[in-house]
Amino acid sequence: MKSIFKNITLCVVIFAMSILSSVVLGKDVKHFFNWNQFRGPNGDGVSTSSNLPTEFSGTKNVQWRTAIHDLGWSSPVVWEGQVWVTTAREDGSELFALCVNLETGKIMHDIKVFDVANPQNEWSDLNTHATPTPIVEKGRIYVHFGTYGTACLDTQTGRKIWERRDLNCDHRVRPASSPVMDKNLLFLTYDGVDQQFIAALEKATGKTRWLTKRTYKSGQEPPKSKPNDNRKSYATPTLIEHNGRKQLISPAAEATYSYDPSSGRELWFIRHGKGYGYNVTCRPIYRHGLVFTNSGISKNLFAIDPSGSGDVTDTHIRWTTRRGVPNIPAPLVVGENLYMIGDSGGMVSCLDAKTGRQLYQERLGGIQNHWVSPTYADGKIYFFSRDGVFSVIEASSEFKVLFKNQSDTVFVSMPAIAGDSMLIRSNTHLYRIAKGYQVDPLPVVAAKQKSAGPGKGGKVPNKDLDALGQRLKAAVKSGKMTEAEAIAKWKEAVAGKGGAKGKGTKEEKGKVDLKELAQQLREAVASGKMTQKEAFEKLSEAAAGRQPIKKDKPPKVDLDEYGQQLKKAVENGEMTEEEAIAKYKEAVEAQKGGEGTGSKIGTKPSGKVDLQKLGEELKEAVESGKMTKDEAIAEYIKAGGSFGEGKDKGEGKVVGKGGGKGGNAKGGVKGRPNFYSIVIGRLKSKDIELGEFTMQVDYATLNRYTSKWIKDEIIGKTVRVSGVSGQFRDNLLLIKKGQTLKVRTAGYLAESKTLVFAHKFNVLERALPFDPEAHGVPPKDFRGFEGGLQGKIIEVGGYEVLMEVEKVMSVGKGNKATVPNSIKGKRVRLAGFYPQYEKLFKELRPTDIIQIGARHQDAVFDMFQVQGDLVKIEE
């Protein structure tokens, strides 16, 4: 997980109800239990409720569930029968507050709070525009959206009482700090890359009472690509009273400060210390006379005596540790113990809060990424992972898991506890869970996608790519996003373009065939003759179908219909949006193949143009120092680019993925098509000085970026390989004629039958004689597999992994392998680690055991694509 953004997340917490009520409640008085703010009434994630459900599966113990439109990671808050959440258009253009009836789950208010003319960092998938959790009190709710604005709403009418939109900063990755309040004041945190301050507004009027700038600068320099990154933070403050002194404890990027809540005067601060630390998301906890807080990505946990003044780093930190400290989730203190959950891997640590002594550190197990801070109630601690794992452990000095279940949701928001029920927000729905209820399974399975599915209003802006490019450039220039993010976003848009097209809502006329078929299939499903899945497969076949039913039909129409069907499938939870897009693209390409180069297709053959543009973008990024060359190259390869010389640009260079499938005539190929492949063969001759050799090719790997025709052309033939330089000449020197070698190539010069040695991610070494199994050529019965695998790494390099499979963990929906277990004990080659697993990939070593999702997108290739999660189990 590369992101910085992890941090953003909110440390969501829930809080139990207000203390007074909790003891007495029964179901009838439930609505008095108010969980009014981020991590609950005390901001510490501790509830006094009991009798909460300890199981959650998506259906069991669900009292009601309500879809929340658009996207927001703010946590629900509860006040007297009302549940409030905020949400935002995915592009940040509109911000909403929703009020849901606690008892029925019905939406009572859906209020558009703000329009946003220029949303910050429109393209981040590491945070939403509605991440700060609102804070509610009798009659009023304060909804806060960071730099976009803050509003006070009347909870009964939904009317806006006041608003402020003039407190601004550049969050870089959208806002996340939640508001807190005391009797009269509302405290707002703005730790942007440009400026950093905390402001207190009068709750009654919204007027500024005070505004205090952050003072401490560590002088640590962030990487050039992320200017001032070390200034930004996403934490939420906590109000405490220590020995009669009221304090607002507010973590910022490089220091945690204490302020006098009435005047904003800085009382003390601690430096977060050496190392490049920022992105603090924690809400501090005050217990045992100590303040517990962590320092974001530098992963320090501090226990601070809040009685000092000035810089108390050297004097008032009672203990500190880095062991088991997460970036994102805040700690939980129950009794004498402090609990933490690691960001990845589900490692739970339990410490003695007063001394910092570790009592245990244990894994919850499975694939788990935790952004949600733990919540306590009734002797139990609740964890929610991004991967949908819901776990409950006993709150004691011994590690004991009481329950663990996987659901199809994504948890980033913290739960809220209301009486003996719990409000959980997934990325799509709000659930009220309480013992003894049961609902039908959700038709929505599209939860892996961050959006709730299309049709809810313009989420995937189908904007012109050029315009998007321009905006991205501007965004990078103005520092709103990094180059790498922009490129990722841009690629996403390029990839999504095909899909988005399909999702258009315009009704097209005259798409008889598929429409009819679809209708028939629907009926078949309704009458139980086939499952929806089967029906869908049929439809897919027809659409992608290599044979359009009526040849004279303009392909555009077919595709649009297909798109409609895909869209429905996504809505119905048949497939994720991503899969739908892939399917759609498949169909587009199938048709292209059928027609040669396929210029008739409504979608422009985007590959060429887009890649050129990407190339330019990357070039600029490198020249401006925003990315390293290696990164740019990896990006480019990833995007399917080839590396012809500048001159060749636009002269019939075969680019991207389109070419091969329909048996594309290679006659049209000029220049140097990309052939990013590992080629295995026997050395025939070599010229060390010129860095050239010839080999008889036994095998060449194929992944989705390479052109199959090249593989077909070279297998069994003798080809020349040129361009070996540097230390690889030493390897070549050692390989004797007749010996088998393995070489990474980057391109192919068709005219001279010459493969070009890849200077990046380079491989040139002796190899055992080619053996399909040893090189991870998948067995027939395993082709088409999708699911989770566990295995040992044999080889790592070039953002690819060769893995020996120990077991098949799970079989995914899209699996087409006839015998998934046929892979046991055999090897698979996995690609696609860049960029989402870049960081973890760099830590992978041969013999590591990993668990990973794999998908064989096209059975013609030998390589599998990584998807889902990657976890290193042991080294």
Binding site: G219, G625, Q727, D730, L734
Partner: protein, 849 residues
């Protein structure tokens, strides 16, 4: 007075100045800052570290007078006391701490009532004044009107914080975006690159600054990140309306320089010792602009360049501890003095008749040798000469035939004729092209275009780079023209009249990288340290660096390589200092023409000199200035007269490279034997003998091929540049094991030290075992031919082997040993492989001597 007796030294020391110690009002720049430097306060370990120490930070090695003064005047954060207490000076924390009257981590630095204490005390007593403004700054400030106290107060209260918070990130301190600085009122009035006045005092509507902050013009919106608050805008408007009041030279307004130190004089001019423990007192006299002079010995830091020859204490008392010659370096303010130190190696006066030498090089060298009591070695043998010359001049071993012909030639001028002959060979151009590629950073990886994976663009371009230089050298184009072709090349174009890849390297990301690269390649100067702080042992300050880097700022150096930000940027005339040697006016967008003009000036202190020195080092393995890219006053030449003469003559010859090679190679100094005599065994820097050195990586690679090549291929092995280590393979082979072992530079950093010529164990192992060596032997065309032809004349074979590997005939005993081995060998194949292997593993092969 050359010989200073110990007694005299002591007297001198006793007399030492009072002057600076007891002057009534010590000056901040002249006395306080140097004293803090000398006491170690501003060192990297103490308050000069970037974090400071105990909350107190001084500029490293002290050259930021404003910052240091402000730091001294500030309250200490923990003690809540004034570092400088004007009311009761003795209570100043700096005095209490330094005398350890209060806790001080650094311990006791000075004793109470020492002169150092008194100096600081008196400075505080006199009001602890900061740096006075330099004359040139005064001129800029002269026109500044007087402002009312209210105006100044308004500025201090409202405007200065506003500027600091919103503008200084890009336009303050050393930043100069768009050519604009807002450090002082004159800066503001002077303006930046944009047309129009930044402020027109009294008229906000005509002031660009106001226009920019109002965000009315879509192209000019400042600050770029956000619009200022209406109140802030109103304040700035009001301030301009008041006439833009600004206090004159207040302490916190950064001023670029204080007083100008013209030079440091030193006495005595030279320290000549006779025996151990002889001492001499050095005195340092600072000359300030305006004629002021002052003895600053007490405030000067002293260093010895060679502590086996001389030691020096903090008072400037220098003591002889060994024979030889070196320098004592004195540092004060931004001045440096290097005082020559010499103690003869022998008592004997060498019988050298300087006038006898016809080559001036030999005269300059001999003068120095006489002083040192060194008698130089004899002239080397013809065989030695030919091998040495071939390697140094052409990077190639002579062929057997060439050796035979040369040895049998009895004419007196054969050595000079050989020099002439070799200078005409392609191998000469190839070898020196290879060297120039080293100096200028011709590295394929660096000039690869960004998305280069599948093609070999980097190698193609590197080859073009090589070829371009090669052509100039073979045509003996003047070095200045060659440099101009690189410096003025249009980065938007390919290779042609000019060679632009120097500028298009990926490593030149920032103007400062470009500045450092230019300084290294063409000036032989390392600017790295000055990037962040004053150079500890050099004259360069950060201002020098910033000014020089300013030449390469994108807004100025804007000629196609970088995309232009916005249409027509009018570049105003900018005055920048070229490392204090010269100031040029920049007009137009491209600063390189004025830089080139400066390089071509006869009095340019580095351009010709650094090249001459690098060529010299190519022949003697040690530069007259060594390291060859450290031209600084603290690293003086071992023989300044020699370097001066060569430089002048080189410029005089219109930078004729062949003249330079000829002049050096024909000198007796170059042609001396490596065999030392009694007097010169210790000498490594005065050229009294040849010093055996390992032959360079590329030459070894080619030499191994030459030893084993088939006779018919021998010539092509020597001349086919496409397959020579000193030719095109130079770029391709970088990074291979062989080249790494023998220290071929990657050309990735700006340092001549990248090439390593030291022998290592790994090199021996390489020659014994490496697959490359085994391949050369097993695939030897010569041995194949011997086998094929069933050659039986072993004596001839042995002779040939010697001529190939050592470029001389074998001695009788060597021949006998080789013969014995060949006769015992199972086959000629095996015997010859053994023999050639053995020859390649000898010192004679691997060394040039």
């Amino acid at each position: 007075m050359k010989l200073l007796g110990p007694l005299l030294s002591v007297l001198m020391a006793g007399a030492s100045f009072g002057a600076s110690r007891d002057i009534a009002t010590p000056d901040f720049q002249k006395h306080v800052v140097p004293l803090l430097g000398k006491l170690g306060c501003s060192s990297a370990k103490c308050h000069g570290s970037f974090q400071g120490q105990g909350g107190f930070r001084l500029s490293l090695f002290g050259f930021d007078f404003q910052q240091d003064h402000a730091a001294l005047m500030a309250k200490d954060s923990s003690e809540k006391q004034n570092r400088v207490n004007l009311k009761s000076p003795k209570q100043s924390l700096i005095l209490l701490k330094a005398t350890k009257s209060v806790k001080h981590k650094g311990g006791e630095i000075i004793e109470p009532d020492s002169w150092e204490y008194r100096l600081l005390h008196r400075w505080i007593q006199s009001g602890a004044p900061g740096t006075t403004i330099h004359e040139s700054e005064r001129v800029r400030l002269k026109n500044q009107p007087e402002f009312s106290a209210e105006g100044i107060q308004f500025f201090e209260k409202k405007i200065r914080p506003l500027l600091e918070a919103n503008c200084y990130e890009c336009h303050g301190f050393n930043e100069r975006k768009g050519g604009l600085q807002l450090n002082s009122r004159s800066d503001v009035v002077l303006g930046g690159d944009s047309d129009g006045s930044v402020i027109v005092p009294g008229d906000p509507d005509k002031s660009l600054l106001i226009k920019a902050i109002r965000h009315t013009d879509p192209d000019l919106q400042m600050p770029p990140k956000r619009k200022l608050e209406p109140k802030e805008i109103a304040d700035l408007e009001a301030w301009v309306r008041m006439g833009a009041p600004w206090p004159v030279g207040s302490g916190t307004v950064p001023i670029k320089s204080g007083k100008k130190l013209v030079r440091l004089d030193y006495e005595p001019k030279e320290l000549i010792y006779q025996k151990n423990d002889d001492t001499a007192q050095i005195r340092i006299i600072a000359h300030w602009e305006g004629g002021e002079r002052e003895d600053v010995t007490d405030l000067t830091r002293f260093l010895t360049k060679d502590d086996t020859v001389v030691k020096v204490d903090e008072t400037g008392l220098a003591q002889s501890v060994g024979k030889g010659d070196t320098h004592v370096v004195a540092l004060y303010d931004n001045g440096i003095a290097a005082i020559p130190v010499l103690r003869p190696l022998t008592d004997n006066q060498p019988q050298l008749n300087v006038a006898r030498y016809t080559n001036p090089i030999d005269r300059f060298v001999a003068s120095k040798l006489i002083k040192l009591g060194i008698t130089p070695s004899e002239i080397c043998t013809d065989a030695e000469f030919l091998r040495r010359l071939s390697i140094d001049l052409t990077g190639t071993l002579p062929s057997p035939d060439e050796v035979k012909a040369f040895l049998s030639d009895n004419s007196r001028d054969k050595r000079n004729r050989k020099i002439q002959e070799l200078l005409k060979r392609p191998a000469y151009a190839a070898w020196w092209t290879n060297k120039l590629c080293d100096f200028t950073g011709c590295n394929p990886a660096s000039i690869n275009s960004l998305l280069e994976v599948a093609t070999e663009e980097g190698y193609r371009k590197a080859s073009q780079w090589y070829d371009w230089i090669y052509e100039k050298i073979s045509e003996n184009e003047s070095y200045a023209d060659l440099a101009e072709g690189i410096i003025l090349a249009n980065p938007g174009h390919g290779v042609g009249q000019g060679m632009p890849y120097f500028w298009t390297r990926q490593s030149l990301k920032e103007p400062k990288d470009t500045a450092m690269s230019v300084a290294h390649s063409f000036l032989g100067i390392q600017l790295q340290c000055a990037e962040c702080h004053k150079h500890p042992f050099d004259q360069w300050t950060q201002n020098d660096f910033v000014d020089f880097a300013g030449f390469f700022a994108p807004s100025v150096f804007n000629d196609g390589r970088r995309r232009k930000n916005s249409g027509n940027v009018t570049v105003k005339t900018t005055k920048l200092s070229l490392l204090r040697s010269h100031t040029v006016k920049l007009e137009g967008n491209d600063p390189r023409r004025p830089i080139m003009d400066w390089l071509r000036q006869k009095d340019n202190p580095w351009f010709a000199r650094s090249f001459v020195n690098r060529v010299w080092a190519g022949y003697f393995n040690v530069g007259i200035v060594e390291p060859t890219d450290e031209f600084t006053p603290s690293n003086p030449p071992s023989n300044p007269e020699l370097l001066n003469w060569l430089t002048e003559q080189f410029i005089e010859s219109n930078y004729d490279m062949k003249w330079l090679h000829r002049q050096i190679a024909s000198s007796q100094t170059y042609q001396r034997s490596w065999r030392p005599n009694e007097t010169n065994a210790q000498d490594r820097r005065n050229y009294s003998r040849a010093i055996p050195r390992r032959i360079p990586a590329e030459v070894i690679y080619d030499a191994m091929k030459q030893v084993t090549a088939a006779p018919g291929k021998l010539e092509s092995v020597r001349t086919n540049l496409k397959r020579r280590g000193t030719g095109h393979l130079s770029m391709r082979m970088a990074g291979t094991h062989a080249m790494k072992v023998f220290g071929k530079p990657d050309r990735a950093t700006n340092c001549d030290c990248e090439r390593v010529n030291e022998p290592t164990l790994l090199q021996s192992i390489f020659l014994q075992n490496d697959p490359l060596v085994r391949m050369r032997l097993s695939e030897s065309g010569w041995i194949d031919e011997l086998v094929k032809n069933k050659t039986t004349d072993k004596k001839k074979i042995i002779q040939e082997a010697w001529l190939r590997a050592f470029n001389c005939y074998p001695s009788i005993s060597e021949e006998a040993r080789a013969m014995k081995h060949l006769e015992q060998a199972k086959s000629i194949q095996e015997g010859m492989e053994d023999l050639l292997w053995a020859l390649m593993n000898t010192k004679e092969f691997i060394l040039n001597r």
